[in-house]
């Protein structure tokens, strides 16, 4: 019986837990929490997308559509059909997953740039539909979303709650939720990577033909990871909808899809922790650059180019390699 060596996940997960626990101590106000929550939710999407792009090597330029799908489905189910948020989120995830399965089957036969184009096409079509069907979705002016409520208790950003004698604000509670969600997402992803699915993905990323020759059912695994990454995005989207209380068709835009891909590539493809860093950086840079006003676009473009040219594997893998070399 061949035993496959699996990576020891514990150090990484403990590290993540530490960072997530320490971060609130640095937050001076609700705005900082807001950023941290956003980073956690975006990182969730990125971790899922990374499975598709980084591990399986399939570039999706339309992933924002799944995120928006989760967001709008949650919003509409809770508003119009009297779902409570948790079942709505699960239904949305199931729906988005089913949609991903349906479109994934024909699309994943495409190769390389053609796959990217097809996913781009799907993403933009979703954005157009959301924008135009304004009777249902509120159109370009957006849609208000009810606050999250779990098991009868409302969790609003504006609330203040008592827990074991400590007062905790709604925003802080949301941070716990988002951080917890991220932790779960990472743990799941790491386990997936070490499973037969993960090994199959890495095989087909290296060479799809070789993997097929070796007996790997590449089509099935590609579809699976496509659906999984779509579900990740949907859940994150649902959470975001309840958190922000307001969503617009921009959540499905091509620009947003590009942001997501950029996060994955920037942080480091096939590096689960790397994409978390990528999310943090991509969300923090605009906040840091506000002082530069007009120069913001120029600087952002320049930074993007520079990082990708000098660290083509992404930030985390490149840095890790430096450390390895020094240690060696």
């Amino acid at each position: 019986m061949v035993t496959v060596k699996t990576h020891n996940k514990a150090p990484g997960l403990i590290g993540l837990l530490l960072v997530l626990a320490v971060a609130p101590l640095l937050a001076a106000n609700a705005f900082h929490y807001d950023l941290m929550i956003k980073i956690c939710l975006t990182a969730m999407v990125a971790v899922g997308l990374n499975l598709l792009v980084g591990y399986a090597g399939q570039v999706s330029l339309g992933h924002a559509a799944f995120y928006a799908g989760g967001a709008y489905a949650s919003a509409l189910l809770t508003q119009n059909y009297e779902f409570t948020p948790l079942p709505a989120m699960l239904t949305a995830a199931a729906g988005v997953g089913a949609l991903a399965w349906l479109v994934g089957r024909p699309i994943l036969h495409l190769k390389g740039h053609y796959l990217s184009m097809a996913t781009l096409g799907l993403g933009v079509i979703a954005a157009i539909v959301i924008n135009n069907e304004d009777q249902i979705t509120g159109g370009p002016d957006g849609l208000a979303v009810a606050p999250l409520s779990l098991f009868g208790h409302e969790l609003s950003v504006f609330g203040s709650y008592e827990w074991f004698g400590i007062t905790i604000t709604g925003t802080q509670l949301w941070y716990l939720l988002a951080a917890g969600g991220l932790f779960l997402a990472v743990w799941l992803a790491l386990n997936l990577i070490d499973s037969p699915l993960g090994r199959a993905l890495r095989a087909l990323h290296g060479s799809e033909i070789a993997a097929q020759v070796a007996g790997v059912d590449t089509a099935r695994y590609k579809l699976r990871v496509f659906v999984i990454s779509a579900v990740y995005a949907s859940v994150a989207g649902s959470l975001y909808a309840h958190y922000s209380g307001f969503i617009t068709p921009d959540t499905a835009s091509f620009g947003h899809s590009i942001e997501l891909i950029t996060i994955v590539v920037l942080g480091g493809m096939a590096s689960t922790y790397g994409v978390i860093l990528g999310a943090a950086i991509l969300l923090l840079i605009p906040q840091l650059l506000t002082g530069f006003q007009e120069l913001e676009m120029v600087l952002f473009g320049a930074i993007l180019m520079a990082v990708m040219i000098f660290m083509p594997r992404g930030l985390v893998p490149t840095i890790a390699r430096r450390f390895q070399k020094e240690a060696a």
Binding site: G15, A144, V157, Y273, A280, E296
Partner: protein, 385 residues
Amino acid sequence: MKTTLKQLAAGAVAALSIGLMAAPAQAADTIRIGSFLSVTGPASFLGDPELKTLELYIDKLNKDGGLLGKQVELVHYDDVGDAAKARTFANRLLRQDRVDIIVGGSTTGATMAAVPLIEQAGVPFISLAGAETITTPVKKWVFKTPQSDRQAARRILMDMKERGLTKIGLISGTGGFGASGRNVTKEIAGDMGVEIVADETYNPKDTDMTSQLTRIRGTEGVQAILNFDFGQGPAIVTRNYDQLGIKLPFYQSHGVASDSFLELAGDAANGLRLPASALLVADKLPESDPQYQVLNRYKNDYEGHYNESVSTFGAYAYDGLQLAIRAIKQAGSTDKAKVRDALESINGYVGVTGTYHLSADDHMGLDAESFRILEVKNGDWALTP
């Protein structure tokens, strides 16, 4: 071990960044006016003149001694026309920058995304966006300076009725402004006795609308065409309308009320009508007009300083700022509740966009009649009698 190193590195970077954004110390003797505007992006037609206006007049205010003896500081962010970013920046203005009042929100999406935060924080907010839903139903802390899209549509339809045009073709952009305008026009047309016999749309970034116009022209019984949108889209529609040789009366919305539209559309614009504030014909008004002073002063100030023509969108920001200043003066402090009450009591402020009568039930202050109907003659704006 390698992974933990990665994680700690990640944590360090993130922490550093958040730390870098530590709240800037607020000098006790400045008044902070916050703003989030769509300075770049698809709505820059709105946000760019708005920012320029705010900067110009806050600068003047400070040179003249400030407000309540203190200097005024403008804290502004660019939301690039994205509602999610607008919400983030509104949060930043409220929680980190701790501004005293907010004048901003170029688009309806940006405004509505920020409203829940602002309502909860209890900070007066004067929006510069057009949709009726912003102030109807009235929200405690939210005001706005532009007339609503419904009022604009009403004014246009009123003029059409007067000219006996009861069957019209509608062509609008699919962005927020166009979609909203299209919806309200369709809602109120019936009540006003006007029938919409054709309804076409285009993407605001499209470069050719001849197909849509051809369809409208081919519709049975159509008597006039209304284009609801802002930016360069309407200029292309206008040029296409001229190229196709369509002779039907042509109406634009208040979204094109700026000289840059005339520059782009050229001679094709001659003969078209639109609802607008009198800003564009400021120099043609009789001196006895109540708005004469305000209009010409704004026009000369802005054009003299920036060397580009005024736009009615910048004027929304001007009026918003003036309302804020008046309210703070009247309240005698920046106490948010007092300023809010003072805003509601402003009655008869003669602004660029119109004369405002605010109250507890009306956080907007203008009605459909505040629009004048302008017509383009010989490449310039003219008042219709």
